[in-house]
């Protein structure tokens, strides 16, 4: 329950705070609570990956982007669109539909917790799911090259030519 409060409270703080740095820190709180939930669900490997990738890498990447793009004051004068009420309505409808589906369904086994150990995950990753795993490395390579190309300053390629 504490972890659920952390996830939902952190998420709400992310989308409502005016200061982008505060939003990014709230996102780290949210992701940390999610890592705790993964550990409770018997998936310590996923929890560790969550801490490493999300809290370690993506949060730092986002903080860097915020600091690169915010000139001076990070407090936004007008954080929301005019379509704020409509957006709230759409999000509430979405939560209602998914939540109703989760509540109305009769779930068969509600007490068994299968442990996802490192050994079983590694076996699945290198036998049945070997092709997606290899495709993923290709995708990451493409993402690295694409990000470098996009983030390069335009003056630099004139100098390179």
């Amino acid at each position: 329950m504490v972890l659920a409060a952390g996830v939902i409270g952190g998420g709400l703080a992310v989308v409502t705070l005016r200061n982008l740095i505060h939003s990014a820190v709230a996102m780290m709180v949210c992701f940390g609570s999610l890592a705790g939930m993964y550990a409770l669900l018997g998936a310590p490997v996923v929890a560790a990956a969550q801490v490493l990738i999300y809290i370690g890498a993506i949060s730092v990447l986002i903080l860097f982007a915020i600091m690169l793009t915010q000139a001076g004051d990070a407090n936004l004068p007008r954080p929301f669109h005019r379509q704020l009420p409509l957006a709230g309505l759409a999000a509430l409808a979405l939560v209602g539909i998914i939540g109703w589906a989760a509540i109305a369904t009769e779930w068969g086994n509600t007490s068994v917790v299968i442990a996802a150990t490192l050994e079983s995950i590694a076996t699945a990753l290198f036998t049945d799911l070997a092709l997606p795993f290899e495709l993923l490395s290709l995708l990451l390579l493409a993402a690295i090259i694409g990000a470098i190309y996009l983030a390069r300053r335009p003056e630099e390629d004139e100098r390179a030519n």
């Binding site: 659920a4 999300y54 990447l61 957006a87 979405l94 998914i98 989760a102 795993f133 990000a147």
Partner: protein, 102 residues
Amino acid sequence: MGLQGYLIVSAILFGIGAFGFLARRNAILMLISIELMLNAANLSLVAFNAYDYFAADNAGAVFALLVMAIAAAEATVGLALVIAIIRTRQTPEVDEYSDLKE
């Protein structure tokens, strides 16, 4: 908190992410909202895996790991795009990007 509890937390987190994506004006915050939605999907994958709803052993946990790697790639390219746009337009606010309309 059984499977239902985790699914409801996941639904609420997805809703928060969708709300942030639709309502905020800052491009970086919209990317953060996408990350929230991906994490909500991950949470339900891991929950279904823990309660043995996948045919293959631990397919849910492996899918969650694959989603994390794809999210990392998406965040990298997305932030590079946002930084490139902000460099040319000098603003992170998405409703100022109206070149195609004018």
